[in-house]
Amino acid sequence: MVGIINYGVGNLFSLKSSLAYIGEEAVVTNDPAVLQKCDHIILPGVGAFGDAAEKLRQSGMAEVVLKEAAAGKPLLGICLGMQLLFEKSYEYGEYAGLGLIPGVVRPIAPMIGEGLKVPHIGWNGLHFPKEKEKSPIFADLAENDCVYFVHSFAAVDCADFVTATAEYGAELTAAVARGNVYGCQFHPEKSGEMGLKILKAFCNL
């Protein structure tokens, strides 16, 4: 069973549907007891970092995520849920994240230079660092396979944990991993066949 953490942020319909489609039972919940029984946990999220980080703490879900991650359970953060895995974000202020992965989240505008639109929205190819072993969640993907991005902020200062990048005026962090903790800046639940392959591989961890 996959536990999708519900902390009042974002629309979880597509994520739940995509897991159902690949034959994975999923539950959207904020019940620590239910999450403890799940063998995989997904931390979704859209919206602003500060607001989401606060909701995550207020709902008690931050504590649960940290506990389950420490117990070695595979955890996948998606989009804002991935950014929340980091130490802090500079999205309209300075906010603390979960600190599960070293690094910070910053606006992409100064990174990508002039002439490119923000948010980075659309299908972009993934590049896997050549010097590293490919992350198991990308086992069924090839270099330059496209996934769907929608974001204006990206993780930096986390080179050791980057498992995929996307080219958009700069090499933006597209995915990270540290032990059993995984993060995707893009939306696997909106990335067609490639996205389903990633979700399937995560569920098979």
Binding site: F13, S14, S17, K117, H120, G122, C146, E167, K190, G195
Partner: protein
């Protein structure tokens, strides 16, 4: 590299796709689920559904079917038609839409864009504009192109982007249905005026028209069309392969 998007657009009435679609191998050519799946499997980068239903019952049928589409198709879905309030946004987002397209609703109440952008984020709000030349000026038309608002199109688009529209679909009434190519003149003017993604609509008659669009106007992010895809005149997969050969970045 970010790819250019190819987007088929489906009109739905009472939960069924209208404007006859002509494909072999589909059991039900007016089922949004079957058509959506067909397009998703054949390379569409995104799907747009316009609900042209007028009645409340028809609306309910549409959201029902939208939910089923979103349960089986995992690419971005944009929904438009009859979006006048925040409740309308909520209704379609809950059923699996990722973006909501506003047109006449925003003309009646521009603040709808600001409210929706604040609640759901800019990326969720798509401004759709029907533009026609009147005395040589790009003018905004409302109600599916039937009503001249007298507003200058570029000014209107700039205003809506400032309010929070995250993407703009520019539909040229002058080129729509003529199948002689996209309206490059108006598209260029819009690209120069705003920094959000611009989606070209109206006028595509062949693969060449898409090649011209992306070559002439590299700032355009996506091409949207309906009948040429529905009638099988242009196959999306072949179109994307063709565009990739022209060095236009595509998701293949």
């Amino acid at each position: 590299m970010i790819t250019k998007r190819i987007i088929p657009c489906l009109d739905a009435k009472d939960g069924r796709v209208v404007k006859g679609v002509n494909f072999q191998g589909l059991n039900d050519v007016s089922s949004p689920i079957e058509l959506g799946k067909y397009y998703s499997d054949n390379g569409a980068d995104e799907l747009v559904f316009y609900d042209i239903t007028a009645s409340a019952e028809g609306r309910a049928l549409f959201t029902d079917i939208l939910k089923k589409v979103a349960e089986t198709i995992f690419i971005p879905l944009t929904v438009g038609g009859g979006i006048n309030t925040l409740e309308d946004f909520d209704r379609v987002l809950k059923c699996g839409a990722d973006k909501v397209s506003v047109n006449s609703g925003a003309i009646k109440n521009p603040n709808l864009i600001a409210q929706a952008a604040q609640k759901y984020g800019d990326q969720c709000v798509v401004l759709s504009v029907d533009v026609k030349r009147v005395d040589g000026k790009f003018t905004v038309f409302a109600k599916g192109g039937r009503e001249n608002t007298g507003m200058d199109a570029i000014e209107w688009i700039k205003k809506c982007v400032a309010l929070g529209a995250g993407e703009v679909v520019v539909n040229s009434i002058d080129t729509d249905g003529v199948k002689q190519g996209f309206d490059l003149e108006i598209l260029e003017a819009v690209c120069d005026a705003v920094s959000v993604p611009v989606i070209a609509s109206g006028g595509a008659g062949s693969m060449e028209d898409f090649v011209t669009l992306f070559k002439e106007l590299p700032k355009v992010d996506a091409g949207l069309a309906a009948s040429i895809f529905h009638f099988g005149e242009v196959n999306i997969k072949e179109l994307k392969e063709r565009l990739a050969k022209e060095n236009i970045p595509m998701r293949l």
